[in-house]
Assembly symmetry: D2
Homo-oligomer: 351 residues x 4
Amino acid sequence: MAKQKAKIGVLGASGYTGADAVRLAARHPHIEIAALTANTYAGKHMQEVFPHFFMLDLPKLETWESVDWTKLDAVFCGLPHGTTQEIIAKVVEANPKIKILDMSADFRLRDMATYAEWYGHEHRAPHLQGEAVYGLTEFYRDDIAKARLVACPGCYPTATLLALVPIAKAGLIDTDDIIVDAKSGITGAGRGLKQNTLFSESGEGLSPYSIAKHRHAPEIEQEVAAAAGVPVTLNFTPHLIPMSRGELCTSYVKLAKGKTVDDLRAALEAAYKDEPFVFVAPKGVVPQTQNVRGSNYVQVGVFADRIPGRAIVVSTLDNLVKGSAGQAIQNMNLMLGYPETTGLEQIALFP
Amino acid sequence: MAKQKAKIGVLGASGYTGADAVRLAARHPHIEIAALTANTYAGKHMQEVFPHFFMLDLPKLETWESVDWTKLDAVFCGLPHGTTQEIIAKVVEANPKIKILDMSADFRLRDMATYAEWYGHEHRAPHLQGEAVYGLTEFYRDDIAKARLVACPGCYPTATLLALVPIAKAGLIDTDDIIVDAKSGITGAGRGLKQNTLFSESGEGLSPYSIAKHRHAPEIEQEVAAAAGVPVTLNFTPHLIPMSRGELCTSYVKLAKGKTVDDLRAALEAAYKDEPFVFVAPKGVVPQTQNVRGSNYVQVGVFADRIPGRAIVVSTLDNLVKGSAGQAIQNMNLMLGYPETTGLEQIALFP
Amino acid sequence: MAKQKAKIGVLGASGYTGADAVRLAARHPHIEIAALTANTYAGKHMQEVFPHFFMLDLPKLETWESVDWTKLDAVFCGLPHGTTQEIIAKVVEANPKIKILDMSADFRLRDMATYAEWYGHEHRAPHLQGEAVYGLTEFYRDDIAKARLVACPGCYPTATLLALVPIAKAGLIDTDDIIVDAKSGITGAGRGLKQNTLFSESGEGLSPYSIAKHRHAPEIEQEVAAAAGVPVTLNFTPHLIPMSRGELCTSYVKLAKGKTVDDLRAALEAAYKDEPFVFVAPKGVVPQTQNVRGSNYVQVGVFADRIPGRAIVVSTLDNLVKGSAGQAIQNMNLMLGYPETTGLEQIALFP
Amino acid sequence: MAKQKAKIGVLGASGYTGADAVRLAARHPHIEIAALTANTYAGKHMQEVFPHFFMLDLPKLETWESVDWTKLDAVFCGLPHGTTQEIIAKVVEANPKIKILDMSADFRLRDMATYAEWYGHEHRAPHLQGEAVYGLTEFYRDDIAKARLVACPGCYPTATLLALVPIAKAGLIDTDDIIVDAKSGITGAGRGLKQNTLFSESGEGLSPYSIAKHRHAPEIEQEVAAAAGVPVTLNFTPHLIPMSRGELCTSYVKLAKGKTVDDLRAALEAAYKDEPFVFVAPKGVVPQTQNVRGSNYVQVGVFADRIPGRAIVVSTLDNLVKGSAGQAIQNMNLMLGYPETTGLEQIALFP
């Protein structure tokens, strides 16, 4: 570690997840940002695209085709879903040893049929899919450390799975009746120009969207099913909230016969007692997005329902950090042999 | 109607619901604002307390004790919960013919034991409670028209009940398994000084609150039970959203055996086909608070769930208008014999 | 007035100013919305483009070419700058008697060379420019009443001129040294897709823009010069503020020799004492956008500066109402012979 | 540096500046948080008062009287103005070697009469005032390094002075005619409960305040005068903006005879060319608060005015970081002999 810094690149540095990877990487003590790609903006300075980097000396944006991948140790991929597979395949061809942190959805679904159904086309790099490790650090830490390609989970899956996996695994809940009411800040919709994410449209207002058909649902189901050992279909209903960052999932669960809210709490506390970034809130303390804004931390809370035999699990994170770029850095630390928390201990920015 | 304007007063005109009653009343063609009370601010001009009324010529604020109630035809009551009962009792004593539109929670619960349990003290005017009509206009229109005292529902109950009552009444859902994930703008917390409603605390963030113990839950249960004909315990989980006005409830329901989402839609459409303020959104159209901000309108939408046998009902309104002062004016129109929509047809302020 | 309603059309009904004209017109007692154009959305229902109109029964959107202009009494034009001139010319050709309320900048500048300099092309309908009346109601009321074509002022000019014209006209300030620090909500940038008006970019932040080169500067200068009787060059520095609606201009002026802040106040009070929509705030009361949101009202305040011989004038309005569609309706009322305030007395939506 | 960490305390840890000092100090590699005071909350965990610290192990809150000051190397003071003087005097008495970073206004004004005039009482620790160094790091670096008591500047003065001091010092502007239109996020008003800082009051709106009488004006004048060598009275007009953090000052200046905007730019670039935190934006690049949110960085831009002989200087910072706690840490680094940037290089949180 005392030796040379690892050289990293960011594919798709003009999007929000790419920019947040740059923000964190620029202050990471053991890495050097060696390449930034954004084909639309090739030739520009990063500061022209993201002026909040005015204090940094960064490589110019270039096309991904012009990068010399053999010089890089790792690459973060912030490209849109669907475009990633072929580019990653080419990167790997150019440098088979490179570590890949994919922040898109392209390698998250293990079942190729499910992928095709939800993303509208056959997967274009199934051979790479085979080796991809699902990058939810807390549950796949050992596999991630040995992986070449890590498919970092979506922000909603990260928030939801940290609430549900330990209790599903322990058989504490009825997996036929999981309702996830999810709320996300507007950065979750990306930097692309859409009418509904204009300030004047989404400010001072709130709307559900993609009801019963959001692409993160099958990803969540895949992992809850893996934990529970049975197929799972669950409700996942996202809402767009007038704030930039932050995500909070309110999960309504039915307790398995004879189980109690205290059992849920015990399972979650056991799961996270040594985790550096995931914290179970003390009884009565309600997680809120303000507590994690701009940080890699996650807060989970458990509450009894008024309906007997039911419980509520609340989980919150910053969608661009633990929900994307932060978790990617966390995984990179594992893959390159750095302490897992390096460069990620920034506390939430509140107020 | 062509004759003299009715004289109205507002008790508690220094709060948000009182102010919104003034805003609407000031432009109502058939009424005259004759008295405004706010004991803390007695002697001040309303414009000193709410500067957005600079263009109006309003009576000065006074104590409620100093009002000559015999001169008023109706009074809107925007006092805090608990303080209302005794004051209303005195008002009625002074003028037994006065029409009362109570926007507090004091007369909403028909069961006195439930009241005492949730509000922490015995009811102080049980004789008046007996005559109070629950003021959800769409379901109690005839009783309201004949009432002296109308207990206008809370904002959450209005939003939730407009979603649930018609389908509960028709036996289309399992009333043991109703989950209401509610989201409210911050005016819902009132104008009182609280740390968590400061801009710097509640802006750019989102938090659940009063999980499994919000006072609107028993009120909702009372009315769903009345519709369904059986006792009901339901989940009601409110969240504070960084916007001033607006409320949206996402209700997750289990369909009764053999029933479908189309049955829900048909029941809601039948219930509201002649309603001036409640609209069922066409298939696929998602209600959002932006559509109702500042208006007395309500939008309800119905959606299939991914979990077979389940459905999602989304309802939205402006918490200070249809959720409070607007519905009070709507009820007053009925009680004083004006067309129900008078003074209330303002369209949502968007963007 | 008791007879038939006037038929109006809206050109460019898919933009924010067009939509606000629809919002106000739909509740105007003497007019009927007979045509809505939006070439990009022709064939769609207005509710598909602006879902907050779900409670209205409006004509479908159509192309402007397909409208039968002979059937309309008046048309509101919310098209983008530059495209308006030729379309208006065609409308007038089809129906020479139609009243035109242009909300674009196309007919605001009386000097064709200034127009060409700031808008980048020769004016395409100079003959119409000749007859256009500048639509700042308070200063051009009589001409507006007789006009066929009214060029409604920009939002910034309306706010600034209501602060400056009376005091410039009375010779109370040094017109060589006027500094206008202007702040606008984000609807001022329109509904077009731009990166800087995304919620995630413009929320929780503040930026000056178009420093020393905003197109509203020459329009303001034209009118201040007309009032003062001398050519004027002034500072106009706009800032984008994270709110949807509202505009506030802080104008820093140097008092003419021997003049005082009280003289400014007296001149403004004299100018607006009978105005229905413009109010001078009492001494010490500070105007704020919250007081006028969603309304056609304007609030102006005057303050002494710490620098001797200087004063500060603060003016505020809703950029889409008095700054655009509301003022257009106000002018239409004059042109069609209705009371000037008809349909415009809605009070500010606060909170 | 490799040895023991310095022990620091925070007086007034329940306010926003205190909390931001904790946020930064908790990740500073060379210091240890040894005491946190908040008399109102004594005995509570810091997490109960600021739940975003849930991941930290912090000392409990205690009264300032109960702290053993002899064990501390430095103390940050985030108490309200007026209360600080006496407490600091006691702290110094208990431990004359302690380094004091005062973030209140109590020791900023060098003239005791000016202090009494603006703060309403005689100064209570004039002997300490005598030794206090004004903590604008960029201009008083050497004195700060040797000081015991540093009076960290207010947020507005920091933003304004970084724009004005170099150009006033170089004689490039007319100091009789400086107009500062300042805009601040709402955290600037502190965590105390005030009606005007409730979300529902200050959101979606904008208001000037303390026009011509803000307490930061004399502080700015003191330092501009010191730079220019002549007494200065300037306009300082603050506005409350609906965002939590961030401050932007638009300063309108008259150029001294024969001087140009390029001269201003040259002076600013010369002043900041080696500064780690202050950056002059390239020609045409407009500073915005988004670029500095949550960071200790400052961005300054210079622009020609439309009025000949005038210029505009725009400066922006985060009011709680470079405007308060960040600058205090920066000064502490100097006072304790650490590299000045230690613990402060966090990049702005955007979006």
